[in-house]
Symmetry: C2
Subunit: 417 residues, 2 copies
């Protein structure tokens, strides 16, 4: 974190700032785990369920090593019962002896559990659907059967001296009394974690907060959460779950998973998983997206040049990214053009920067312009001043000459919120 | 909404389902505007601030007409002071006489206001930064100056008989007492809407809920909200703002805007704005993304084939999209293969479907397979049964023959949560 950013933060939390909801809040929330949680990285389980994903053994090992190096706490793998190769890959990854603990994800059934514990994993993630829809259309079992089977599987996995998690599926459409009854029962037999899963992506942030807060009072074990992104709330829901006391968050690289996926890991672009899934990084991806640190409107650029904290909550250099102040558009302002001119070792008066900016905006009103176009205008404008000549600022085509000449005014910078 | 979906919903809200947080909740929340809010569509203002965006007059008109047809309540345009063409385009769009009201977005300054009201817009959105960072690095004004200028600009715009909104910028890093004092002052002079803007994308859903809920008790006018997506919470924050009583939400097509943008409009893919911005729809986009309705893991496919409500909260056909059950992977299950065989007019016994599924999974363990590969295996397997022959199910290359032959086991379906 750069010192300029720290100064920005300090400014925010000064006694003059009386914002109880904002940054610099000094009241501790003892329930919140926002700054102390563990990541269960599921690119090699949930991510394999992404439509385009095909991970062969070598690719899985590459991804596991990259996630381990990144520092995730757990790596979750596809059910070894899914296919012959899935089991062999699970065994191979366990043999890598990574720092991260290796988990596999199975149905709540003794057949799956027996195969899972034989692979060498550090823990088993058990799950079963509990909503009436899932019970009717997925496995057809009732709550008492679920509870009984869960306890049998948990005791079996624990008897092998490894971790066990029990998760309901479709938790947010399940009956609350059913959920608490099952979670309480598995907590009492010593499950290491219970899992809450928004399998269909229907939960809202405040629903998540309320359910996890209630659950936090019911079980003494850790609480893992898993959020699908169908309604665009997977990140926010994970954050609210941590605020309410969840201890573990499931992620995948770029969020890949069933349908449009889950809470993304963030940070590095996870090139291995991305290439193996044949997808592009979304233009608007957090941190690593095309324009995540590009500032365009005039007043944004002005403030960013004064202090990046004005329009950035994350320092791009912390993630190997670079800030970019866009100066080649009709929305640009003279502060951005002055900054660019100074990068080009050109110094002018304020009046000259403003006039030069007006020329750039006039061209940008006619057609999209590139950095090179703006640089060319700045350089020619400056040479004209130095030489007293009046060379054309740009090579314009026949369609552009008349409208460009017609533009005489000097517009002001554009605002934005 | 299809009847099968309604049946699914009805099942969820039956008296047996005692989930106070989930769907089918019958307790009304009188504060919430989640099912009654207005959209201020800002593709032609915030969206123009997206790094890649260049909208000429014709493209702006196309986008405005498409948004109007979609049914947005307001269309917000770039400040007419930004450039000569920005003003001319604003005037041209006002002359279209669309059903949507036309707004323009200006700085809190009389110079901007005079130009804005002359364009023919139905309303003016006024904004100014109020956080200490913005006041220091953007405009250098104090709170009393902001309040005085805001009232002057609001009275001026109202005197022209059009709507006026006053928004703070960087609201979530502003002093709460400052904010409430300014909002209360502008409410008392009859502003139509106040705006709350998370300009830098730092707000969390529960912060949003708390601030809007407090503000709802302070002002009597409408409340507009604007959320940037730097931390991935723009959709969730808009939802929580509506829950707390906000009345208006700012959006743009695909969420384009400064940096990585704002709350997306959703619905149609907004091809006009997308092409003019030279971007691809993100693979994981809500509703219109590549795989938003693709189901891959065996138990997902099984339940989806029984009842789509099990793993879908939105009916794809409501948006002109199609559901797709992926059946050509190692994670597939026999229910998906049976469904596919039936589409191919092939009927077999359960045992035969399961054996055929095992063959497909075995091939998918060796390499990525296409729909055609899976179909070919299903058809050849079926022909072999009919003819009593033992033709090879697939044309395998030299590297594939040995591992494929080695796979004899019949794995079970893969679970998922």
């Amino acid at each position: 974190m750069s010192s300029e950013r720290e100064n920005g933060r300090a400014l925010c939390s000064s006694p003059i700032n009386r914002n109880p909801y904002g940054h610099g809040n000094t009241v501790s929330d003892f329930l919140s785990n926002v700054s102390r949680f563990k990541i269960i990285e599921s690119t090699l389980r949930e991510g394999e369920q992404f439509a385009n994903a095909f991970f062969d053994t070598q690719k899985k090992i590459e991804i596991a090593r990259a996630l381990d190096e990144f520092g995730v706490d757990y790596i979750e793998l596809t059910n070894p019962c899914a296919s012959d190769q899935s089991r062999l890959d699970c065994e191979a990854i366990c043999k890598l002896r990574l720092k991260a603990k290796i988990l596999t994800h199975i149905r709540c059934h003794m057949d799956d559990a027996r195969i899972a514990v034989a692979t060498g994993v550090d823990g088993v993630d058990v799950m079963i659907g509990t909503s009436s829809l899932m019970r009717q259309h997925s496995h057809g079992k009732d709550i008492e059967y679920i509870k009984k089977t869960a306890i049998e599987v948990i005791n079996f996995v624990k008897s092998h001296g490894i971790e066990v998690r029990f998760s309901t599926e479709d938790s947010f459409r399940s009956d609350l009394v059913d959920l608490l009854s099952i979670y309480s029962a598995v907590d009492q037999v010593g499950v290491h974690r219970v899992g809450v899963a928004d399998t269909i992506g229907c939960a809202s942030p405040r629903q998540v907060y309320e359910l996890i807060r209630v659950l936090r009072g019911v079980v003494s074990c850790d609480i893992e959460t898993h959020f699908h992104d169908d309604a665009g709330c997977a990140i926010a829901n994970a954050y609210c779950a941590l605020e309410a006391g969840a201890t573990h968050i499931d992620t995948s690289v770029l969020g890949i998973g069933e349908r449009n996926g889950i809470t993304p890991l963030g940070g590095p672009d996870g090139a291995d998983g991305r290439h193996a899934s044949r997808i592009n990084i979304p233009f608007n991806n957090y941190i690593t997206g095309l324009c995540a640190f590009t500032h365009k409107a005039g007043i944004h650029a002005k403030a960013i040049l004064n202090d990046p904290s004005t329009y950035e909550i994350i320092n791009p250099t912390d993630f190997g990214m670079a800030r970019y102040v866009h100066f080649a558009s009709r929305l640009t302002g003279w502060n951005a053009i002055r900054s660019r001119a100074q990068q080009l070792n050109i110094s002018m008066t304020e009046k000259q920067y403003k006039e030069c900016t007006a020329k750039i905006k006039a061209l940008a009103d006619i057609r999209p312009i590139a950095m090179d176009d703006a640089d060319s205008i700045i350089r020619t404008y400056y040479r004209n001043i130095q030489s007293g000549e009046d060379n054309p600022l740009m090579d314009l085509n026949a369609d552009e000459i008349v409208p460009f000449a017609a533009k005489k005014k000097e517009p002001r910078e554009v605002p934005s919120a």
